[in-house]
């Protein structure tokens, strides 16, 4: 069912992605419990280790997901086989082994010892949020990324160049380039924080949006049959808005870290525009699905695509805007409000877009046009379970955050952090329950790949 044989390498990447995703959620559940039962698994797995595993697995599995998506998408768009399928396979195993060793390192030895083992002193880059990987792993990521971009780039440059694969390529190159800032770790804490955001912000609110928009556009072309011209125009406008608002929008991270006051104005104004690209993505997805020329048998993939557009708008757009203006952020910065936004934004934008790609491409790689009836029903159930529970996780964390802000920062008589944490424990319990429902949704999702049932009947087009 695949148009090109080499698209099949994506399957490896997707399987690994789902596996690591499961690990991420398991550790998320552990952390959620540690929020209310502080001594759970202590001192074997202290919270910081669980969190490191949770966030690093997220980053790594999303990278696997992006790479897999690119390997599936690029040959089809370029109308040729992958430049070097063997390289894609080799890099997969290198990345998987390096990633697994790093995670095991986090879990099996104390972090300081891991720093010594990997000779962090030669080029200290560890111990910063999301960039906890040992320097050697970081170098490994760069090598894998370069090999990957070379492979993808050569395929695109020697094949058909479409807007989708060019935008995807720009996004991936940007991803690699901005990651280089992770090697810059000055002693000056303000400088350190300033350039740390060049990785984090310019990834998730910059180049990743390019990747996301192009993946979504690809799936929408395939499942709706809407004219490529129309979709490409939308794609350009969406990513233009993403970069126009998002580049200077980095300023919303420079409010309170010792950077000049003018960032409060610039950051607020430009990040107030940041919901626009996400809103346009929703408008775009609704529009093309509404005007679809065919009803694709893979209903689950259509659901995921629409879900991505809606949830990205909610999580990244609405919940981002909620606390992005400097006067509000003065109170909410570094509270559970941030956590609420982070969860829904990552799920809605990046988790869901990868799951959309998997949902669309996995059946094709397994020789079917779409999963069987039962599999699709299960998959849609898992969609709703995961999505609704993520909405609740976000709402509970928002509640916890508002209460925290009020008691700890806003009231006349501010209470200490730990006292406030105990007062908001109810919200953490509810979040944990929602987290368990999410895990059930994920298990159902995995099970849907093995479900046997009647083939979907569809008209040839």
């Amino acid at each position: 069912m695949m148009k090109y044989e080499s698209q099949g390498v994506a399957k490896l990447y997707f399987i690994a992605a789902i596996g690591l995703f499961t690990g991420q959620i398991l550790f998320g559940v552990v952390m959620g419990l540690q929020y209310v039962m502080g001594d759970f698994l202590f001192p074997e797995i202290p919270f910081n280790v669980a969190r490191m595993v949770h966030t690093n697995l997220l980053i790594v599995w999303l990278l696997f997901g992006f790479m897999g998506s690119a390997y599936f998408l690029v040959p089809e768009e370029s109308e040729r086989e992958l430049y070097a399928p063997w390289l894609a396979k080799l890099m997969f195993w290198i990345f998987l082994v390096a990633g697994a060793l790093t995670i095991l390192g986090y879990l099996l030895v104390p972090y300081a010892q891991l720093a010594d083992l990997t000779m962090n002193d030669l080029l200290p880059t560890m111990g910063r949020e999301f960039l906890e990987q040992p320097t050697i792993t970081k170098i490994g990521i760069v090598i894998v990324a370069l090999a990957f971009i070379f492979n993808i780039g050569m395929t695109i440059l020697t094949g058909r160049k479409t807007v989708i694969n060019l935008v995807l390529l720009t996004g991936l190159v940007g991803l690699a380039v901005f990651f280089l800032f992770s090697f810059y770790n000055p002693d000056n804490i303000v400088l350190d924080k300033y350039f740390w955001w060049f990785v984090v912000h310019l990834w998730v609110e910059g180049v990743w949006e390019l990747i996301m928009a192009s993946l979504l556009a690809f799936v929408l072309i395939k499942v709706t049959g809407v004219d490529r011209e129309v979709i490409e125009k939308w794609l350009y406008i969406i990513i233009a808005m993403a970069l126009i608002s998002g580049l200077v929008g980095t300023g919303h991270h420079f409010f309170w870290i010792g950077t000049p006051d003018y960032w409060q104005w610039l950051g607020s104004i430009f990040s107030a525009l940041e919901p626009i690209p996400f809103f346009m993505m929703t408008l775009f997805a609704f529009n093309v699905v509404n005007k679809r020329r065919r009803d694709h048998p893979n209903k689950a993939a259509v659901l995921w695509a629409l879900g991505t557009a809606v949830m990205a708008f909610l999580g990244a757009g609405v919940w981002g805007f909620l606390h992005t203006l400097a006067p509000v952020n003065y109170y909410t910065h570094g509270t559970q409000v941030t956590a609420a936004h982070g969860h829904m934004a990552f799920y809605g934008a990046y988790v869901m877009v990868v799951l959309t790609m998997i949902s669309y491409s996995m059946p094709l790689m397994r020789g079917q046009k779409a999963g069987n009836q039962k599999a699709q029903v299960l998959e849609m159930w898992s969609f709703w379970l995961m999505t609704v529970s993520m909405v609740f996780i976000t709402l509970f964390l928002t509640g916890a955050g508002i209460l925290q802000v009020y008691l700890q920062r806003f009231s006349e008589d501010p209470l200490p952090f730990m006292v406030v944490q105990e007062k908001v424990a109810l919200f953490y319990w509810m979040r944990e329950v929602a987290g368990l429902v999410f895990l059930i949704g994920l298990i159902l999702y995995i099970y849907s790949f093995f479900a046997k049932g009647d083939e979907v009947v569809f008209a040839e087009d």
């Binding site: 909620l322 009020y406 009231s411």
Partner: protein, 121 residues
Amino acid sequence: MNSDELQLKRASKAALFSLLNLTVLPVIGFIILLLIYQKSSSDSIDHYYSVIGIKTNVFAGIALLLVSGLMILLGGFDSPWTWVYVVSYFTFVHALFILFATWVLVRSWTGEKLKKNILSK
């Protein structure tokens, strides 16, 4: 431009201003929506969409402003719990109204009425 196309333009304009009233142009959007409603003849597609827009916004007004107002009134201005409910409720429900209005806008572009599920045939 024939009258069909004109109606269609007005219908999508109605849907657009219903969305704008919910987002960046509150009140102004509603006034324009009322004007479009006034100009439309019953049974036409622009009439249909301006009525939907007006209903959506009146309902949103009640659901957002009135309910939030009641929450503050009943919960007390100085209670942290009031703000927990008001802020989460307002953000979430407001977003749902925006999403609904967006879908209406997209439907209005095709000149068809709402009905039709987004996923099924």
